[in-house]
């Protein structure tokens, strides 16, 4: 690739423009030069003033192109279809209350246990694909095998996406600009179509609809969560999504989980809200830094869930009536 002119390089690998842009290299007018020749046009003074490291920029471009090629080349064969946790021990070195636990894609698993019990540690074990080399002694398998080290070290292929209740939008962009920016960083080809899909999905989840020209910082709590979930479901490359509670306001949580599951995600959800915890197929109970047991949601619990959902619908109904300025009545 070092023989190609910059113009040809961009034609072949359009993502090179991101590299040039982030490194503040303006190549306008130099498209016919090779990258090395372009770097040589900087004067000694430029190099010092702008802290330019020519050798490194040259080598890094090559590394960047290879990483991006690899990122684009991820196909379905490599997709994550299951995650297996092999038991380790708790903080007192007692063995965990299970031997091996496999979670398949489109499954929802809830995690319960008091704050500080070891939820973060479990998540970190998964994110790092622990191989009996973390304080819990757990090992993680992907698709039943010892995972590729890329999950540890690649910056664009993280195993776990997170949705937590403290999350906010920091950038002040419109919804359209925001989603486009994310789509571009994921090298999505049809940005407009993807943006449309995300806003439609988000609006199906949100109690109050919003449009593409709304600023993300002006969205209500429910709308923000809806947009974050839709965006993570559709755009995030991470096959595992960890949800740390979803507040029960302004968002249809059941639909949100359905959306994630429909996108082949493995969903782990830390929650003490019974309606959410019981939606899960199984729940992991964490105590003293270890998994003490894994409970399968029973028939009786599913009955309880139905009741909870009815109550939930009742409350949500009241909420929309209030929003619409109506007087509340007990409907049958």
């Amino acid at each position: 690739m070092s023989n190609l002119s910059i113009g040809k390089l961009i034609e072949k690998y359009p993502f090179v423009t991101t590299y040039l842009d982030e490194n503040k290299l303006d190549v306008t007018g130099y498209e016919d030069l090779r990258f090395e020749e372009y770097l040589n046009h900087f004067s000694e003074e430029d190099i010092e003033n702008w802290a330019i490291d020519k050798e490194r920029l040259k080598e890094d471009l090559e590394i960047y192109i290879n990483q991006m090629k690899e990122f684009l080349g991820i196909d379905d064969e490599e997709a994550v279809s299951s995650l297996t946790i092999i038991a380790g021990h708790d903080k007192s070195m007692n063995p965990e209350g299970f031997k091996e636990f496999t979670i398949n894609k489109s499954e929802i698993i809830s995690i319960v246990g008091p704050t500080g019990s070891g939820k973060s540690r479990l998540l970190a074990d998964i994110e790092w694909t622990a191989q009996n080399d973390t304080p819990t002694g757990r090992s993680i398998l992907i698709n039943g095998e010892v995972p590729d080290m890329k999950w540890r070290f690649s910056s664009n292929n993280k195993l776990v996406a997170q949705l937590s209740q403290n999350m906010n939008f920091v950038m002040d962009l419109t919804v359209r600009e925001f989603v486009e920016l994310h789509a571009q960083s994921r090298l999505v080809e049809d940005v407009e179509d993807t943006t449309q899909k995300i806003i439609e999905a988000a609006n199906r989840l949100a109690g109050e609809k919003f449009d593409l020209d709304t600023h993300v910082t002006a969205l209500s709590g429910g709308q923000s969560r809806a947009l974050m979930i839709a965006d993570t479901a559709i755009l995030s490359s991470s096959p595992i999504v960890l949800i740390d509670e979803i507040e029960n306001a302004g968002i249809d949580r059941k639909k949100a989980l359905d959306l994630l599951v429909s996108k082949d995600k493995i969903v782990l959800m830390a929650t003490h809200d019974p309606t959410l915890a019981l939606i899960a197929d199984k729940r992991i109970v964490i105590k003293n830094g270890g998994i003490s047991k894994i409970i399968e949601t029973s028939e009786e619990e599913r009955e309880i869930l139905k009741k909870l959902e009815e109550m939930d619908t009742f409350i949500q109904g009241m909420r929309s009536d209030l929003r619409a300025g109506e007087e509340l009545t007990v409907k049958n």
Partner: protein, 233 residues
């Protein structure tokens, strides 16, 4: 002894991350010491003391903290060796986006945070671009989309670094980071003769030498003027 240089803008979470690393390394009975460099003031040394590790602080005062670092690092290393540390961590002041105190053979870690804005990777020079490990903090309070965009931007200015998310509050990721800092093959007895990864900027204008008066006739040495154009006519 292993030496690791931590750098990163103010308030990005360097101290929190180092404290979590200390926690993780203590469990493995690794002896850690910290030297904090700053400009006028720091009370981070008290936090490290509370964590039960040997700590020294160096305040650069009227000098540039990174220059001060370069002129003191050998003595700091000897201090660490005398205490028989397994790992010596230095934490920079992180005041200037132009410089970095990384040394060629020594592991350099840059800590940046998701809240600092999407253009941060563009604004930071060698401090980010020449780090071996880029640690991104405060990921629990921004959206997943911003986490991904931010990480991909950081990675596009430094594609060869390992980019990791570490949470300075819960410590998620700190254990993993700590395992990357201990490296038998990188143990040192001295940094004498080693080289900085990137030269610090040429200084020495009259203001470096204590001039306080404003005006053309007081400006001497390495002076550069802004190009304001002539569009005010």
């Amino acid at each position: 002894m292993n030496l690791v240089v931590f750098s990163g803008p103010p308030s990005s979470g360097k101290t929190s991350i180092i404290l979590k690393i200390i926690d993780a390394l203590k469990q493995r009975e690794v002896r850690v010491g910290v030297v904090k460099f700053d400009c006028l003031y720091t009370d981070d040394d008290i936090l490290y003391e509370k964590a039960g590790v040997p700590v020294k602080k160096g305040l650069s005062g009227a000098l540039c903290p990174d220059h001060y670092f370069a002129s003191n690092i050998e003595e700091v290393v000897q201090w660490g060796l005398k205490l028989d540390l397994d790992l010596l961590i230095t934490e920079s002041a992180g005041l200037c986006n132009r410089c970095s105190p990384y040394i060629k053979e020594i592991k350099g870690v840059c800590v940046i945070d998701n809240l600092s804005g999407i253009n941060t990777p563009k604004k930071i020079g060698p401090m980010l671009k020449s780090a071996d490990i880029v640690v991104i903090t405060k990921g629990d309070i921004v959206s997943q989309a911003e986490r991904e965009v931010f990480a991909s931007k950081a990675s596009s200015v430094n594609p060869r670094a390992i980019t990791m998310h570490v949470n300075g509050l819960t410590g998620q990721g700190a254990y993993e980071l700590s395992t990357l800092l201990i490296d038998k093959e990188k143990e040192i007895e001295s940094v004498q003769g080693m080289e900085l990864r990137f030269p610090m900027p040429a200084a020495l204008c009259s203001y470096c030498l204590g001039e306080t008066r404003i005006g053309e006739s007081y400006q001497m040495g390495n002076v550069r003027k802004m190009d304001l154009g002539d569009d005010y006519e």
